[in-house]
């Protein structure tokens, strides 16, 4: 298994600003993903963070709004840009090994946009 940490754990931000969320894994992993969990909802995949190349975004999510970096096999960032109250959600990072097929999740970042 992998232990995943995220920073910050929560934040309150003003409309129009941006927030960068960090995800750190305690071991080298093949896959890293970013999810959004809107209030009272399930998890929706935002994108796959690819090491050394551009992230792969799911339908409905774009790079300009959610730029992602993954400079190495244990670290990734997600930026929520030009925030609006609709971006208030929990953002979760997950990671795993392709051969294992399973994902382990970080504790999440609870974002509130005023």
């Amino acid at each position: 298994s992998a232990v995943i940490s995220q920073k910050p754990s929560r934040d309150i931000c003003q409309r129009g600003t941006s927030l960068t969320i960090q995800c750190q894994v305690d071991s080298q992993v093949t896959m890293m993903f970013w999810y959004r969990q809107q209030p009272g909802q399930s998890l929706t995949l935002i994108a796959t963070a690819n090491q050394g190349s551009e992230a792969t975004y799911e339908s409905g999510f774009v790079i300009d709004k959610f730029p992602i970096s993954r400079p190495n096999l244990t670290f990734s960032t997600l930026t929520v840009s030009n925030m609006s109250p609709e971006d208030s959600s929990i953002y979760l990072c997950s990671a795993g090994l392709a051969v294992a097929h399973e994902q382990f999740f970080g504790p999440g970042t609870r974002l509130t946009v005023l």
Binding site: L43, L92, H101, Q103
Partner: protein
């Protein structure tokens, strides 16, 4: 398209009672199936997974799940619920895309436990 349905949004059981959470999936091939639990203010913890083989899988915290291909189901069970089991439970199926598996989650079932 792949999808996961959890028919029960909320379930309330008494402590010590048995529990079954339902999950139905839609997937063309042999699915990889998962159950995760999310306690309030926490991330997701993997309870158990099914890839192949024995259709009854054992997980952590005394949970088990049974894969039934004929019913496209992967229901989660526990014989005796503890108050600490109160949480949200998510069923997920892995969708192979771009060289690896991506998770599709159900809407979740919120479990309340009465003393």
């Amino acid at each position: 398209a792949q999808s996961v349905t959890q028919p029960d949004i909320h379930i309330t059981v008494s402590e010590g009672a048995s529990l079954e959470l339902r999950c139905n999936y839609s997937y063309g091939a042999t699915p990889y199936l998962f159950w995760y639990v999310q306690s309030p203010g926490q991330g997701l913890q993997l309870l158990l997974k099914y890839f192949s083989g024995d259709t009854l899988v054992q997980g952590i915290k005394g949970f088990e799940a049974e894969f039934k291909r004929s019913q496209s189901s992967f229901n989660l069970r526990k014989p005796s619920v503890h108050w600490s089991d109160a949480a949200e439970y998510f069923c997920a199926v892995a969708r192979f895309s771009g060289g690896y598996n991506k998770l599709i989650f159900g809407a979740g079932t919120r479990l309340a436990v009465h003393p």
